[in-house]
């Protein structure tokens, strides 16, 4: 399956993925949509819990950011921005507390998609039901990317984790706002192209710093990519080639920057101190 194939499909991207996965079988289609609705509900639940719970994670590094932002004054007069960031961090802080979340596509990057998708939907007053097909599109984008590279910080750095999650989210929002498969492909590609090279450097090996704030940033990034694509902007480099570039940069990263907690912010004096303290 390639993005090129998808982009040539008329209509929304979700129709392409549904047809591919269920081959015209109506029962299989209903079952898949029902399962997706369950996943969506589990995602929503993790956002809700994360916005109200401010208990610290086991390390004490995160836990109160989502609730804090959610309740803070909107000084920028940008409710969408604030909502998207708070929702994304809500999921990742639940994750850091070992709460129940939906990996999307991984747990470390679990906040980006629900942050962006629920954030935009709530901002525009759209119902959760309308998000099921965009969620299918998001999953399909993850599937295409995973055919080129294992989606994991350990295999390709954070660009192979937050990158796909932002790409999936950008495509989902594009579909929610009426974009066709072509627009979704370019939204996803723009999002992915601009995460290439991100390193994976979780402090102490805990999926907390930089992961929680990173999801807040890249959920906004996904919304921005959807905005560009919906206005007709395209990824100059063909989307399938962007995926190839992401994979090859990921492989070039030294092991220290691939989820070992031995490089980047994890290898700062403070990062080392936390690692030592938590090892006790």
């Amino acid at each position: 399956m390639t993005f090129d194939e998808l982009a040539r499909h008329p209509g929304p991207a979700s129709a392409f993925f549904l047809e591919r996965e269920t081959r015209g079988d109506a029962d299989a289609r209903d079952a898949l949509l029902a399962k997706m609705a369950e996943r969506l509900a589990a995602m929503r639940d993790s956002v809700d819990r994360g916005l109200t719970n401010d208990a610290k994670s086991r390390t004490g590094m995160v836990g109160w950011n989502a609730k804090g932002l959610h309740q803070a004054a909107d000084l920028l007069d940008a409710p969408l921005l604030k909502r998207v960031q708070a929702y994304a961090m809500a999921v990742n802080e639940e994750n850091a507390r070992m709460g129940r979340i939906v990996a999307a596509p991984t747990a470390g990057s679990a906040g980006t998609l629900p942050g962006a998708l629920f954030g935009v939907a709530d901002h525009l007053g759209r119902s959760d039901e309308e998000l099921i097909l965009p969620l299918i599109t998001a999953a399909g984008f993850g599937e295409i990317i995973s055919e080129t590279m294992f989606i994991a910080g350990a295999s390709g750095g954070c660009g192979a984790e937050i990158g796909p999650s932002a790409s999936m989210a950008a495509a989902a929002i594009t579909e929610l706002l009426g974009g066709d498969a072509h627009a979704a492909v370019h939204a996803g590609s723009l999002a992915l192209m601009n995460t290439i090279g991100l390193v994976c450097d979780p402090v102490g090996g805990y999926v907390e710093v930089p992961c929680v704030s990173r999801n807040a940033f890249y959920s906004v990034h996904a919304v921005a990519a959807a905005q560009l694509a919906l206005a007709g902007l395209e990824s100059f480099i063909p989307p399938d080639e962007v995926v190839g570039a992401m994979a090859s940069v990921g492989r070039m990263l030294p092991p220290e920057l691939r989820e070992t907690g031995e490089g980047g912010v994890a290898d700062t004096p403070t990062g080392r101190r936390i690692a030592l303290e938590m090892a006790k």
Partner: protein, 266 residues
């Protein structure tokens, strides 16, 4: 990989590869046994070895050995549940060679009432909660837990694969993948067969009774998040139905797996 594998698993945090994937590997190791183990030695490699604690990998592995799924709310207290269930766990780190950075070898032994079942399984967590098992008891195998997996250790002789395939065909079980490897000619071999649905009990019983079949297990799929049909649970022995799947342990010493632990690793 299907759409639901990408948007999933539904899981207890914090890491899909280091928590959910680890839990699934241990769950497969548990299902490769008939009885709950009383001791387990877990050898962590690469990124698993470096960040196991921070990602809850140890908790997840213990939880899986107890039969818990990745979204089980008891996962964060897995160590306490292990103690209550009489499961002793030892963690080690080692370089397992040129394997995926998130790889673990899970050796389980013992069992309730002095049972001595021993199984070693090595697999990798590929990301997003997906897993791959490539070694069981020192034999090269190949399965990913997305389908039901039949493991058959058998005498290396002509016609075994054909026989097994025939029985599966008669049982209307469609084979998705099949991998078979032997340690030496005329010695023992292991077959891993991924099938679309679980084999019927009569078919399992028939295969288990074949003289050249030394050991056999039917592992459930562990990716959908649905509870396995006859899955083990931490608060009781494996259900009777699983007991009847019992392949035959030859009892002639050939099933001592420990010596071959490393051989099958790619």
């Amino acid at each position: 990989m299907g759409l639901l594998d990408v948007l999933g698993p539904v899981m207890v945090g914090p890491s899909s590869s280091h928590t959910a994937g680890a839990c699934r590997l241990a769950l497969l190791a548990r299902h490769a046994r008939l009885t709950p183990p009383s001791r387990a030695e877990l050898t962590l490699h690469g990124s698993f070895a470096k960040t196991a604690r921070g990602h809850g990998t140890e908790l997840a592995l213990v939880a899986g050995l107890l039969g818990m799924m990745p979204d089980d709310p008891r996962l964060p207290e897995a160590h306490d549940h292990a103690a209550a269930a009489g499961l002793q766990v030892v963690f080690r780190t080692a370089d397992l060679g040129d394997v995926h950075p998130n790889t673990v070898r899970i050796r389980t032994e013992g069992g309730p009432d002095g049972a001595t079942e021993e199984v070693a399984l090595t697999g990798s967590s590929l990301g997003g909660g997906l897993v791959r098992v490539f070694d069981v008891d020192g034999f090269r195998v190949e399965f990913r837990g997305g389908l039901h997996t039949l493991l058959v250790r058998h005498h290396d002789q002509p016609g075994v694969i054909a026989r097994v395939a025939r029985v599966l065909a008669d049982d209307a079980s469609n084979i998705a993948t099949l991998h078979c490897a032997r340690k030496e000619r005329g010695g023992e071999a292991m077959m891993s067969v991924e099938i679309d649905r679980r084999l019927s009990q009569p078919a399992l019983d028939y295969l288990a009774h074949l003289p050249y079949v030394h050991w056999m297990r039917m592992l459930p799929e562990v990716l959908s998040g649905d509870p396995p049909p006859a899955g083990p649970h931490d608060d009781g022995p494996a259900p009777a139905r699983a007991g009847r799947i019992a392949g035959r342990d030859t009892g002639d010493g050939r099933d001592a797996p420990s010596a071959g632990g490393e051989e099958g690793a790619p």
